[in-house]
């Protein structure tokens, strides 16, 4: 097995954050600045003002990722350059900011915060670092405003995808969200769906789990539900050119889900006559996955089977920097893989999906 040293790696999941929410004020009207200072920006997370689970590391981030100049992990472009881009030979990195903007219950406030966050990404990150690209964050519970946000930035080379979260208030493929998918296709942008969300629903479909560990593994289950919804509602039939990237959702579940979907579809197709292809054919045509956090079976070769079943052209490297469950590109493929497959995984697939 060769282990070709790759440079110009694509990292499809980087999380920049603000030092404080005041960083967004240059792009907010006086009304929203005062609103935030007075009332905050509540999301659908009952009983708590922040995330529903305490994370295992501060800010859910690596303890060695605090910028030397202060501020939370991921808040310094200079330090991100050094610790991520330079150290790990990242040549193309996609920003997915999980700052409180998407999922804010006051929909007009959510739209204002998303607009500000998009300016912040483009003008303080991408404009100063040619290796980075941004994601258009949208106020997804207001699909028309989301479509308007996508149209506003369409054609701006700083942005390479539209960002949604996996737990919206209705299943991802529900027709109420279709303006988002339509606008993304019109703009020629993939829709990245990152695990997590502020929907009011628990991460599990059997209620609120007691432990953070359950939330960590539950993301895979919610992403499966979202993918089933996208397929069965006919989103991919309506927009054959739509590219969906499932981010931080796991993917080893995908082959069995496709087998199960096809099996059920063959007996129930009269219920969903709008589907012209097998469910697995839509998934293979329209969906990609990012790798982190990669499952760690005792026998690493089992992962090679998963990559082969799903296809090396479908999975893209992501680090999740600066979050604590970061994957190091030098160590992530711990099983025999050809140089050709590794180049697809680390570079080629992202170039194809994001047009980089």
């Amino acid at each position: 097995m060769s282990t070709e040293k790759l440079t110009g790696i694509a990292d499809c999941d980087i999380h920049p954050t603000v030092r404080t929410m005041a960083e967004l004020e240059p792009w907010l009207s006086r009304q929203w600045i005062e609103h935030f200072r007075t009332y905050g920006a509540l999301r659908n997370t009952q009983y708590v003002s922040g995330a529903p689970y305490h994370k295992s590391q501060p800010n859910a981030s690596r303890r060695d990722a605090y910028p030397p100049e202060g501020g939370p992990q991921g808040s310094s472009l200079a330090f991100l350059r050094t610790q991520l881009l330079d150290q790990h030979s990242i040549g193309f990195g996609i920003l997915n900011p999980l700052v409180q903007a998407q999922g804010v219950r006051n929909l007009a406030h959510s739209a204002a915060l998303c607009r500000a966050l998009n300016h912040w990404q483009a003008e303080t990150w991408v404009a100063n670092e040619p290796r980075l690209r941004a994601s258009i964050v949208v106020p997804y519970e207001d699909p028309e405003a989301s479509a308007e946000e996508i149209r506003h930035w369409a054609g701006n080379a700083a942005f390479v995808q539209v960002l949604l979260l996996s737990r919206t208030s209705f299943p991802t493929g529900n027709k109420r969200y279709w303006p988002i998918f339509g606008a993304a296709v019109e703009a020629g942008l993939p829709v990245g769906i990152h695990a997590f969300g502020n929907s009011g629903w628990p991460v599990s479909n059997v209620g609120w789990p007691s432990f953070y560990l359950e939330e960590m593994v539950g993301h895979a289950q919610t992403s499966q539900s979202g993918l089933v919804s996208l397929v069965v509602e006919g989103v991919f039939e309506r927009w054959p050119a739509l590219k969906v990237v499932l981010i931080e959702s796991g993917f080893t579940w995908a082959p069995s889900l496709m087998w199960r979907l096809d099996h059920a579809f063959r007996t129930l197709r009269s219920e969903v006559p709008h589907l012209k292809l097998l469910p697995s054919e839509y998934v293979r045509r329209n969906v990609w996955w990012t790798s982190q956090p990669l499952d760690e079976p005792e026998n690493k070769r089992y992962l090679a089977d998963m990559f082969n079943w799903l296809g090396w052209d479908k999975i893209m490297f992501s680090s999740d920097y600066p979050h604590w469950d970061f994957d190091d590109p030098a160590r992530v493929i711990a099983f025999p893989a050809s140089d050709e497959d590794r180049r697809k995984f680390f570079i080629g697939n992202a170039r194809h999906v994001y047009g980089a």
Binding site: Q57, R62, D64, W324
Partner: protein
């Protein structure tokens, strides 16, 4: 293994830690309540920098709902994925995995018996009466 000076003991008090370089190898050295421990600063799981981890205790549960917390401050938790290692043995407590942080013996020696370490002359000038912290690596 050669012996290398880490620091004068007086300048390396309990509750502190240092990251040293020995022939290109990064080694984390801890003073935990007066005892010194050293480990290769590379988590065997995925390479995280152990010196930046939290020192915690050993939390065990003989049965769901019962908890036993012991050995406070003797378990290093990796700052990335949270793997935990015993600073005394380097062993991980997750029985399903055989990861083991590589450790090195550390002790205090009198000044006269020291092998000249890479840091002593340049950065840590002290008199022979003092004790030095030495790492074998």
């Amino acid at each position: 293994m050669a012996r290398h000076v880490v620091a004068p003991a007086a300048e390396f008090p309990p509750g502190t830690r240092r990251l040293i370089d020995v022939d290109g190898r990064a080694i984390a050295v801890f003073n935990i309540a007066g005892e010194y421990f050293a480990m290769l600063n590379r988590c065997p799981h995925n390479g995280g920098s152990l010196v930046e981890g939290v020192l915690t205790g050993l939390l065990q549960s003989p049965t769901p709902g019962e908890y036993e917390y012991s050995r406070q401050g003797e378990i290093i938790r990796c700052p990335w994925h949270g793997w935990e290692f015993d600073v005394r043995t380097g062993r991980s407590f997750c029985s399903a995995v055989r990861a083991r942080a590589r450790q090195f013996p550390v002790h205090i020696e009198d000044g006269q018996t020291l092998v000249e370490g890479p840091y002593r002359a340049e950065t840590l000038p002290v008199s022979v009466e003092d004790s030095y912290v030495v790492v074998e690596a």
